[in-house]
């Protein structure tokens, strides 16, 4: 998993959902929903951010807690998409 992906997602979450309050920043494995960091609109904001910032496309069935519940999963999901994209281009 790319540490820079994780760091970028963390910055977005702190800026967009915590409004710069780093003292509330969640750990990598902390659930964003259970800890009231994102709500139903927030999930869609996350989707928009990942698509626009990383240039990936996200299908509706992929918007599930397995991919979006915490920073580690978000980063792994994004990196997977990026690798898949590179592989597709290379082939």
């Amino acid at each position: 998993m790319s540490s820079s992906t994780k760091a970028e997602i963390r910055v977005f979450i702190i800026e967009n959902f915590l409004f710069g309050d780093e003292t509330q920043a969640p750990g990598d494995e902390v659930s964003l929903i259970e800890n009231d960091i994102v709500d139903s609109t927030g999930i869609l904001e996350l989707v928009a951010y990942l698509e626009e910032h990383f240039g990936i496309a996200i299908a509706d069935p992929e918007i599930v807690p397995e991919n979006f519940d915490n920073i580690a999963r978000l980063a792994a999901f994004t990196d997977g998409k990026l690798r898949h994209g590179l592989a597709a281009k290379a082939s």
Binding site: F19, G20, E34, D39, S40, G42, D69
Partner: protein, 646 residues
């Protein structure tokens, strides 16, 4: 409808007493523009501002009993005053006026403080008993009319609005941090707490007896469920509800001035207006709110009803700039921060109706509480249904069905729907189970609380305090009844009837009357079987059945459309520019309540694109209204409202 104010306690000279009473009453002149009156006795003073609706020529207050032993300053209406008067006359009482005020004096003379149990109405009053040297305060069962009190320099003071108490020299407005925490949890403070430190409200359905060295506060009525429950044969419920609602509407048309109606386009106000129309021989006039944005606008449904009834209906279109322009004045009247803009359009509507010569209106408010109309009741039922099979991917789809108007929710996968609404699912015995998702969404806005506020609130949990206020029998009630109790006892008086009701209506001298909150109907609805109210996911089932042959199909079968207004986006235009400056890093820093940097980022986020989430909007409106509150009442730097010229 009126304003009352006064004091009890020695130490003021007659001149000081009169001057203070007059300034307390004058600051509440918007509630009573038609007349004013003062009464002073040894160590006591009562003031009154009158909005003349019943007994136009002979209802002046404060009103004394014939022997001068009793004196009453009273705000509100007693809708069963004719029946009470006839009873009293049959027992030998002789009346000097045609007003409902005098009825209270006679009833008290006969029964003492227990007289409130006989009253069917919306009232807040102060009654001075010279014989006992006792001041009695009382407030109606549901909390329609407000009443606040405080102590200062050994004297007891009361007023219809807090701003009356702020006229007392030495009393300074100070925000109560716990009240702010409660507002950022439940949308309202938990009575008797108010947004003002040291100032309390008399809770609904309570009386207060103040004597030298002794104060007693006690309830005279309680909302109770499941009393003789669940026994009525099929069909009888519907008939009883319809008969009670008809009578509740009939007696709420009693007035010596024209009574109009608020018509929203929903089931509740449509039903009230339908019942009222034949009882208003001169023709009923109705008023409604329209919005530029289709998702909030209900004017097509208002037109359907008006045309069906043949009544004259007028609606006021509230654009974003109008809402923004009215917002600061709205907070002056609500006297508490709010998390939604919804009170502002109602503030504009009351000005509109008053401008049309109306002094009193019927409203459909209250039906959603007593007949389980709100989404939160259906949501809680689905959450319990999902909790029984947490692995189900089908069950969470039901959440979409109850929130068709929430576009972001419609786009969620079942997994996320389950996750969002799953809060508390592992503890179905939690007394606040039904309200946990709403509380979670709302409390997210506390993220913006500043360091000092967080420090003051360390260790405090508003939900724990609410749970501690529940009656012992609460745990025996059905989950729907528990949820109804939470809505009816806390949110209804603390927010709906105040911020969206009395306070914004009386800002323009409009009296609101609520047939659904007639206590006979409230009690009957509380006795109904839960499934009579919420059948499956069909809300207000029994009411729909009662209305079946009265309303057009498209209204009777319309699913609940909650009253909403556009939120933070209304402040993005020119009309909101001066309010946006209140959210600047510097301004927020000066107030010291919220985190300046976080608030500035929220403002920036809203400027990039309109805030879409519930939490962000609640935070924006909550912070803004708190800052406005702060300036109105502690800095006194915001312009205050002037009574509408009509």
């Amino acid at each position: 409808m009126c304003a009352i104010a006064g004091f009890f306690g020695e130490g003021l000279s007659p001149r000081e007493a009169n001057g203070l009473l007059k300034s307390m009453a004058d600051t509440l002149a918007h509630r009573g523009p038609d007349a004013e009156g003062l009464f002073t006795g040894k160590g006591v003073g009562l003031a009154h501002r009158r909005l003349a609706i019943v007994g136009l020529s002979d209802g002046l207050q404060p009103m004394q009993s014939a022997d001068g032993d009793l004196c009453l300053s009273y705000n509100g209406e007693i809708f069963n005053h004719l029946e009470l008067r006839a009873d009293l006359e049959s027992r030998g009482h002789r009346f000097r006026t045609g007003s409902d005020t005098e009825v209270i004096l006679h009833l008290y003379d006969e029964m003492g403080p227990d007289c409130v149990e006989m009253l069917n109405g919306d009232f807040a009053f102060a009654l001075w008993d010279r014989r006992l040297r006792r001041l009695m305060l009382a407030r109606d069962r549901m909390g329609v009319r407000p009443l606040y009190h405080t102590r200062h320099e050994g004297r007891f003071y009361f007023a219809s609005e807090v701003k009356g108490l702020l006229e007392i020299q030495g009393i300074e407005a100070k925000l109560d941090p716990i009240a702010l925490d409660q507002i950022f949890t439940f949308w309202a403070p938990l009575a008797p707490r108010t947004a003002f430190e040291g100032i309390k409200e008399l809770p609904p359905a309570h009386i207060m007896l103040v004597e030298e060295g002794r104060v007693e506060v006690r309830p005279y009525w309680r909302l109770e469920f499941g009393l003789d429950a669940h026994t009525a044969p099929n069909g009888e419920d519907t008939e009883e509800i319809r008969a009670l609602l008809s009578d509740a509407t009939r007696i709420r048309l009693r007035a010596d001035v024209e009574v109009g109606a608020y018509l929203s386009g929903g089931l509740d106000s449509a039903l009230i207006t339908t019942l009222a129309t034949p009882l208003a021989p001169a023709g009923l006039r109705s008023f409604g709110i329209g919005f530029d944005e289709e998702e909030y606008d209900e004017t097509p449904f208002q037109s359907i009803m008006a045309s069906r009834l043949g009544i004259r209906h007028e609606h006021l279109v509230c654009g974003q700039d109008e809402i923004a322009s009215a917002f600061a004045d709205t907070i002056y009247h609500t006297e508490q921060p709010v998390l939604r803009t919804a009170p502002a359009p109602l503030h504009l509507l009351s000005r509109f109706a008053r401008g049309k010569g109306i002094k009193a209106v019927l409203s459909g408010e209250g039906a959603d509480e007593i007949f389980a109309g709100y989404d939160i009741f259906r949501e809680a039922r689905i959450r319990r249904f999902c909790a029984r099979q947490p692995a189900s991917r089908l069950r969470p789809h039901l959440f979409r069905r109850i929130y068709p108007y929430l576009t972001t929710l419609q786009k969620q996968t079942p997994d996320y729907l389950g996750a969002f609404f799953g809060v508390g699912a592992d503890n179905p015995e939690d007394p606040l189970f039904s309200h946990r998702p709403r509380m979670r969404a709302t409390t997210g806005a506390k993220l913006f609380f500043g360091e000092a506020l967080r420090e003051r609130l360390k260790g405090y949990d508003a939900a724990d305090e609410m749970a501690s206020l529940l009656p012992p029998e609460f745990t025996r009630w059905h989950p729907l009844e528990q949820a109804q109790y939470l809505e009816t006892r806390f949110l209804l008086p603390g927010y709906i009837l105040s911020c969206q009701g009395d306070r914004v209506a009386m800002a323009h001298s409009i009296e609101t009357r609520y047939p659904f909150l007639d206590h006979r109907l409230v009690e009957a609805a509380a006795r109904l079987r839960p499934e009579t109210k919420l059948r499956g996911l069909r809300e207000k089932h029994v009411l729909r059945e009662a209305a079946r042959d009265l309303l057009p199909h498209e209204i009777a079968n319309r699913s609940k459309q909650p009253y909403r207004a556009p939120e933070s986006v209304v402040f993005s235009g020119e009309a909101g520019a001066h309010l946006r400056t209140l959210l600047s890093e510097r301004s927020i820093g000066e107030s010291g309540l919220f985190n300046p940097r976080a608030t500035a980022k929220l403002l920036e986020k809203g400027q990039r694109s309109p805030l879409a989430g519930f939490r962000d909007n609640a935070a924006f409106v909550g912070i803004l209204s708190t800052e406005i509150w702060h300036r109105h009442f502690t800095h006194k730097t915001m312009p205050t409202a002037a009574p509408l010229a009509v």
